[in-house]
Amino acid sequence: MNETTAGPILTTEGIPLKVSLQKAERRNKIRAILLVAPLLLFILFTFLIPIGDMLMRSVDDSHINTVFPKTFKEYKKWDRQDLPSEELYKTMFFEVKDSEGYAIGKASTRMNYAKSGWKSLLKKSKRKFKKIEEGPYKEQMIAIDKKWADMEYWKAIGVMVDARTAGYYLNAVDLKYNVDKEVVRQKENRRIYNHTWFKTFKVSVLVMVFCLMLGYPIAYLLSTLPLKYSNLLMICVLLPFWTSLLVRTVAWMVMLQQKGVFNNLLVMSNIIADENRFKLMYNETATIIVMTQILLPFMVLPLYSVMRTISPNYMRAALNLGAAPLHAFWKIYMPNSVPGISAGCMLVFILAIGYYITPELVGGKDGQMIGNWIAYHLKTTLNWGLCAALGAILLGVMTVLYWVYNKLVGIENIKLG
């Protein structure tokens, strides 16, 4: 048509076709966005913002700055060589004396993370400062408690004077600030997190490997069997997927405990003596066994959906050309199923690394993962900064994996049975 008309093609309304199409395209785009917007906003407000808000706590040190604003301002003038001046003692005195007990309590907990002893010092001082009427304050404060004359305590404040801190992240990998704000290792008996991180990765990798070892053969079987059998067997994979996580954990407790089904069977068939029952519960082994069973469907489903697209003719051709069955499998079938393997492994690893319920119930002391420590700090110690820092690191690792998964597999290809 372009050959006959010189100008651009026009619609019946006299607008150039290109403009009109662009307009329609834009309208469709807006419609699509409007359809997605409600859910996107919902997820933003009920899910993403809460998580972001929590992550902010991992660097937040502002509370203590609202309790001791003047002291911290005065503190910045101190040369850190000798004991502070009377002026600094005086501001400290009034801010401790005049603050509410609740605020001081919360601040002293924070100060105790920087240097232990602060909490008891402030508690005692808060009580005794009431009796002091007038200055000079320095001597009177030191008379109440000798810690007020200890340089270490004064120096430790330096770690907290900024409203932002990296201290919780250091704690999360067994490091800390010393009183001079240098990064040092935690004391021997307080190094727990590096070990836990390592264990979390170890358990996740083992669970992933076991899931692959158990899941690959049955996915292969399912994809090669005739439909009426494979549909029936597929139920066996999907039923655990649909069964409550707690129900499955209870079931495993019944199976694995000292007087559980597994040990009873072994004793009854005289394989082991009654007093040598295996300790299968409340340790790392239990965590791995139970998590493998719980996450196995997440391995089988992606594997199966890839495997059923592999034509059986490939294997037939290889066998026909004289390859031994195992050789043909290794050279022909395996490489074709790699997308399924990577999808399954990624999914299982991502889900395993953040597990909390199962290790808590069957892991005992030895099977705890990083998720359990997050919960512990959230509800027991109330050290929310550390809780958030551990969460942020975990989330960072997950986000990278999730991104890789999205690139490799495409998130829209997740299958749910």
Binding site: K29, P50, S223, N231, L239, V254
Partner: protein, 294 residues
């Protein structure tokens, strides 16, 4: 793929060995779920198969834990415990059903938008919408605990319903998007050219076709909420007992076989839901003219 008639002995051994291995894996998957069914009828207060129970002696079998679960207990203080189970069931259904409705509505509409060919940033948005399924529950719970307490949503049913809706939507988005692949958009054009407006087209043309996907998504969202315990523990109050929360408490404090009875009921529920979803999936594939598996 069966074994050909000319297979050698070695191949036969290999094949049957493979089948045995697969059988064991299926057993590993299924056995733990079914082991609790008989045990819930045991009279013993511990989670174990006693010798009398195995010999089918009538006095070792009883319905006492079921009676306790529904609240007909003769022993003094146990009535309190059993009432908690019924309270939990009620709460679980209230939260689960509300969250399911919200999640299904939001998720279906979003899936329709995502399936349009001109949706910008499709991959990124999809990744965000699916993320509640991927982020560890303990991190989600911690975030919601802090934020919801700031805006006064902790210890309320609304807070729990909103939280469970967020957790359930990824499943709806995934199933409905899957149903929409291969959806013939000409049907929409045909409907519109015959004079139907957008709403009429949606309810009369699109909805019947994607309904199987929507229902599967809804069931997934329901079971997610019904099974969720971590968020309930941190966002809910002490009195807001749900079934999984009561099970959790039971496992950590008073290990009572009532847990096994509730577990048996939940297994029955999951079998019912699984069957429904399987039937729906086949119906949907038939409707869209996609060949069944294999």
């Amino acid at each position: 793929m069966a074994l050909p008639s000319y297979a050698t002995t070695g191949e036969k051994i290999g094949w049957y060995g493979f089948l045995t291995y697969c059988g064991l894996v299926f057993f590993f998957l299924i056995a733990p779920i079914f082991i609790i069914l008989p045990l819930s009828f045991s009279a013993s207060p511990f989670f174990e198969f006693t010798r009398e129970f195995m010999n089918l002696e009538p006095e070792a079998w009883s319905l006492r834990w079921y009676r306790q679960m529904v609240g007909i207990a003769s022993v003094g203080d146990t009535t309190v415990v059993s009432n908690k189970w019924m309270l939990g069931t009620r709460n679980s259904f209230i939260i689960g059903i509300s969250a399911t409705f919200l999640a299904t509505a939001l998720g279906t509409v979003a899936a329709l938008g995502l399936s349009r060919p001109n949706m910008p940033f499709k991959g990124t948005i999809m990744a965000i919408l699916i993320s509640p399924m991927i982020v560890p529950l303990i991190i989600t719970s911690a975030g919601m605990f802090f934020f919801y307490s700031k805006i006064g949503l902790t210890h309320t049913y609304l807070g729990l319903i909103l939280a469970h809706t967020a957790l359930g939507t990824p499943f709806v988005v995934i199933t409905v998007t899957a149903t929409l692949t291969g959806f013939d958009t000409n049907l929409i054009r045909a409907s519109q050219s015959l004079g139907a407006d957008t709403m009429r087209t949606f309810f009369k043309v699109i909805m019947p076709l994607i309904l199987p996907g929507v229902i599967s998504g809804a069931l997934f969202a329901f079971i997610t909420s019904f099974d969720e315990v971590v968020v309930v523990m941190f966002v809910g109050s002490v009195e807001q007992i749900t079934i999984p929360k009561q099970m959790w408490a039971g496992l950590r404090q008073e290990t009572s076989p009532v847990i096994l009875c509730m577990a048996t009921c939940l297994v029955a529920l999951s079998i019912a839901l699984l069957t429904t979803v399987e039937l729906l999936r086949r119906r949907s594939e038939r409707l869209r003219g996609i060949k069944l598996r294999n």
